[in-house]
Symmetry: C2
Subunit: 152 residues, 2 copies
């Protein structure tokens, strides 16, 4: 039964109104759900790093390195889900995402650059450098959110 | 302002009632949200592979390899969120997760083993082998869901 339902799920996901390719986009609500799932997991793995940076949790080099790696993979996931088809879907995303795509792209690249640096630095395990880079990532999160997301 | 709110967010996430370590668990609802976020993203990247396997989308070796890598990382994320504290939280997870932990662990390991094989096979790009392994992963998803998740 699981098989049949899964089959129906795929049929639905790739169903009427969407081009049937391996890159198929889903319904706007699905895209919003997917990009929000990335944000949920980003926070799961970035929150503990901010806690370390601020001295609210003990510094743990292994967790920092592991989480940095997870964040790097997660960082590849949300962007295509900010599709123009989601412009009117319920979400805290601001219209600037679609009216200023170059600026949005730049904010993404800045964020991903800081995450890449965090991955590199976290491999050294050096506490001060790792904490400084956690701060830099945090700033790039804020930079994008300030311009492209409704205030929390 | 973003900074202040983020700070408040961290304080909340790591707040009263939870041990303040880098491994801090959140509230049961947060854990459920996090593990469901993994399932959402699993489906985002596994759905297109099932579509390829069933001939509903053209085979794309690069997408198969990329998605397999994403699934491998995602596969590391949900398990600690099946914490006993979530036993009574609203979710389709079945009590067997907590009453039969060894069986649940075995199902996880079977799934992760099939994902690891998919990563290896997808690097060869061989269509028939990749498709067969997509089917094997799917079976292991179903095996775990059949025993530990309410029917869809």
């Amino acid at each position: 039964m699981y098989k049949k339902l899964l089959s129906a799920g795929v049929a639905l996901a790739l169903g009427a109104g969407y081009t049937l390719t391996a890159f198929s986009q889903g319904k706007p609500e699905t895209l919003v759900k997917q990009r929000q799932a990335v944000m949920t997991l980003h926070w799961k793995y970035f929150g503990p790093l901010v806690a370390m940076e601020r001295g609210r949790a003990p510094y743990d080099a292994a967790v920092a390195a592991r989480n940095a790696g997870y964040l790097e993979t997660l960082g590849k996931m949300p962007w295509t889900d900010f599709d123009p088809s989601t412009k009117n879907a319920k979400s805290p995303a601001l219209p600037a995402i679609f009216t200023e795509p170059a600026k949005f792209k730049q904010a993404q690249e800045q964020y991903l650059g800081e995450i890449a640096k965090l991955v590199t630095v976290s491999k050294t395990g050096d506490e001060a450098s790792v904490k400084a880079q956690i701060g830099a990532v945090n700033k790039s999160c804020g930079n994008c959110h300030d311009n492209f997301r409704e205030p929390f």
